[in-house]
């Protein structure tokens, strides 16, 4: 891996940054990165103010705040993407699809496998600018097929069974996917490093100060690295937000969206109105799986070290996305988006300002509070159980 979008040319990225900081006798590290700045070089002229990796000075308090905000939004938008799948399936079938987080993992790992097979990554094999888009599409397509298969194979036969049966089946499907993923000829049991395929470079450096070197060459004060705003994070969040916007339009402005809402409201009546309920359910699963795949790909771009498919970290991520869906109001699409971003921000602000040791506590604490005081979720309405 080479430094993202940082060719050897002076005046760009790490090199200039190093000279500007100067004087520090330590080795120069290059960060993880993107093979090729191709896409960026096309877009670059449009961003004249950001290209020069502008440096801003802010008080340290604001620096930390800004960094936390950016991270919270980036991860929150991924939670939101996953939460949408939970909430859509719940809205229509009134059960929690526990296998959903495994579809997300599948998305991340398919992205890795495609990249590996294509041989992208590393300084010798830079990925073309369209690599990210292609990988994203393949991951979405694979997960769509898997999502469809899961629905047809595992859930559809249980349509008339009690809801508990479906729930237990979902856990079974989840375990099946986790353990299949660990097979050597699928993904294996080893964590892997995912090359960055999205365009990356430093957009802005905020704060920090260079090393202070005394007259005799002795370092008096070490360099404090600045907060870096990276293009890859911006592109990742933007993609997530774009997908959410498209989904929102799809559900609220199209005929199919109306059909989905009708099935969610009352499947029986919807069927009487001539809506093909089974097809609508399948479409819902496919959309959910596609969004999860996108989240998986974007996640692999943000956190290049991919944990193995059955690692607890994935389960925890899935759970947090589920919490996001509940906090926003399960069954409510805009609620899931809001919940996701809220959970992401809460997690990161808690970690920075209270302590990272209790990161998960903030998220699940919020869940308890929401369930106590607003059981329907923030945007949901408390449902009256019909007897």
């Amino acid at each position: 891996m080479n430094e993202p979008g940082r060719p050897e040319s002076p005046g760009e990225g790490a090199d200039s940054h190093e000279t500007r900081h100067g004087g520090r006798p330590a080795r120069v590290f290059t960060g993880p990165g993107v093979p090729d700045p191709g896409l960026f070089s096309r877009v670059a002229p449009l961003l004249p103010h950001l290209v020069a990796s502008a440096r801003y000075h802010l008080p340290p308090v604001l620096e930390l705040f800004l960094q936390t905000l950016l991270n919270g939004l980036a991860v929150g938008s991924l939670y939101a993407l996953i939460a949408l799948g939970y909430t859509m399936v719940y809205g229509i079938l009134k059960f929690i699809n526990f296998a959903h987080s495994d579809v997300f993992v599948l998305g991340a790992w398919v992205s890795y496998e495609v990249t590996r097979i294509a041989g992208w990554g590393g300084p010798d094999h830079p990925a073309p600018w369209w690599a990210g888009i292609l990988v994203l599409i393949i991951a979405m397509f694979t997960c769509a097929i898997v999502g469809f298969t899961i629905e047809r194979g595992a859930y559809k036969p249980l349509r008339r069974a009690p809801r508990l049966n479906v729930l237990i089946t979902a856990i079974g499907v989840s375990l099946l996917l986790q353990n299949l993923g660990q097979l050597d000829f699928i993904f294996g049991t080893r964590p892997q490093g995912m090359p960055t395929l999205l365009p990356d470079r430093v957009l802005a450096e905020i704060g920090g100060h260079p090393a202070v070197v005394g007259p005799d060459g002795v370092v008096i004060a070490n360099e404090v690295a600045p907060v870096l705003v990276r293009l890859v994070d911006v592109v990742g969040s933007a993609t997530a937000l774009l997908l959410m916007f498209v989904l929102d339009r799809l559900v609220f402005k199209t005929k199919m969206g109306r059909a989905m809402r009708a099935v969610s409201y009352n499947p029986g009546t919807a069927a009487l109105m001539g809506i093909p309920v089974d097809r609508i359910i399948s479409i819902t699963f496919v959309i959910g799986a596609t969004l999860a795949a996108a989240a998986g790909f974007l996640y692999s771009q943000k956190y290049s070290g991919l944990n193995q498919p059955a690692a607890p970290v994935w389960v925890l991520l899935g759970l947090k996305a589920f919490v996001a869906a509940v906090v926003g109001g399960i069954g409510n699409i805009r609620g899931a988006m809001l919940g996701g971003i809220l959970i992401g921000l809460l997690e990161f602000f808690g970690a920075t300002y209270i302590g990272p040791e209790l990161k998960d506590v903030y998220v699940f604490g919020l869940l308890i509070l929401v369930l106590l005081f607003r059981p329907g979720g923030i945007l949901g309405s408390a449902a009256v159980e019909k007897v």
Binding site: V28, L64, P191
Partner: protein, 384 residues
């Protein structure tokens, strides 16, 4: 109804298949000497268990090829712990009570060895941990041994290296609060490094399996350290290196033997270059035993052995050595024979088991260069 019946049919077929498989397994294993191994064959630390298992298998193969134990062959039974303590206890119980192994080898992670050691102690079956470095693993358990050095020594090694070789004055620590191993290393490092006159410029924690370290690294960043000590395991270490570089932190990261896996470079890539960790051995180290071991391992498994493979190999060989010296293969006799191990020439150094059943031996520090660990320094144990 049809669906239901076919599911039942499938299940009974599966159970029958399992029963047959189990029965055949039992028949073939009657006249061999059984040794148990419990390790993380899958899960987050999968390479640990797999490497150790490869090392053990290599030792067993050699031992059997050389005639075995008075003509009887040794058979290893490996159970997966998935890297979870609850599984470790179950695996060891199964090895001891149902497979009736004469001794148990494992685990790598200290937390898991503590769980497995409790069972071995209770049942009076000797256990040799190849690579659990936390002191508590062998404390008060006279049936539990290890062939690696312990955390206080490893903490000292890294502190000494940071102070003397890197000339670091300020070091930040980022440790795994969910792992006994990581906490132990952090405590020892802090103690020794401050005693040498260094300052700890940040002390942050994460939990195993965390994927985002930006909050912790953000705080460490403002302390402007000369190096960051990350006494965790390779998955997190690789991720931490990646995120540190992404945040613009350029100083080297330091680690312990938990970093030792070829996946470290696969995850960390460029970000991990120029980082150091203390280890049990370096594959490019000189020495007859090391070179022979690396060659045999490479031809059998097609990979360079990591420290865990070497320790698995050593642990098995120490057990075989003790078996030859032991009066019988009963738990107590075997225990006494293992305890008497002295100046045993092993791949990871000359091993003498002290009165705490810990190995007294040297450590090496390796640097990540071109995606491979390269020998950087040797640190000898201090004589007390």
């Amino acid at each position: 109804m049809r669906t239901k019946r076919s599911v039942v049919g499938w299940m009974s077929a599966a159970i029958a298949a399992l029963a047959v498989a189990g029965a055949t397994g039992m028949v073939s294993a009657q006249d061999t000497i059984k040794v148990g191994h419990y390790g993380s064959m899958t899960g987050k630390e999968a390479t640990f268990g797999q490497s150790t298992d490869n090392g053990i298998k290599l030792a067993v193969e050699e031992f059997n090829a050389a005639g075995g134990f008075n003509g009887r062959k040794v058979e290893v039974i490996t159970y997966d712990t998935k890297g979870e303590s609850s599984e470790a206890g179950k695996a060891v119980t199964r090895l001891v009570t149902s497979d009736k192994v004469i001794a148990v080898l494992g685990e790598v992670a200290s937390t898991l060895s503590l769980a497995g050691g409790a069972v071995c102690q209770e049942k009076g079956v000797p256990m040799i941990s190849p690579s659990s470095t936390n002191p508590a693993v062998t404390r008060g358990r006279d049936y539990v041994f290890r062939v690696c050095f312990i955390d206080p020594f490893q903490g000292l090694v890294v502190a000494k290296f940071a102070h003397e070789n890197l000339k670091a004055k300020k070091v930040a620590v980022l440790y795994d609060q969910a792992q006994t191993y990581s906490k132990g290393l952090r405590d020892e490092f802090k103690k020794h490094f401050t005693a040498m006159g260094g300052t700890i410029s940040g002390d942050e924690a994460y939990s195993s399996g965390d994927q985002d370290f930006s909050a912790q690294l953000g705080k460490i960043r403002s302390g402007a350290p000369d190096a960051i000590f990350v006494p965790g395991y390779y998955t997190e270490a690789g991720n931490i290196a990646l995120q540190a570089r992404k945040l613009g932190i350029k100083v080297p990261l330091l680690g312990g033997d938990g970093w030792d896996s070829e996946q470290l470079a696969k995850i960390g890539g460029e970000a991990i270059e120029g980082c150091y960790y203390s280890n049990h051995y370096a594959p490019d180290q000189k020495g007859e035993l090391v070179e022979a071991f690396v060659k045999k391992y490479q031809s059998k498994f097609g990979a360079t052995p990591d420290g865990l493979a070497a320790l698995g190999y050593d642990a098995a060989n120490i057990l075989f050595d003790a078996m030859k010296r032991s009066k019988s293969l009963g738990g107590k006799d075997l225990r006494d024979a293992i305890a008497a191990t002295k100046d045993f020439k092993a791949v990871t150094g000359t091993i003498t088991l002290d009165k705490n059943r810990d190995a007294q031996k040297s450590a090496v520090v390796v640097e990540m260069k071109g995606g491979k660990p390269v020998y950087a320094a040797t640190v000898e144990p201090t004589k007390k």
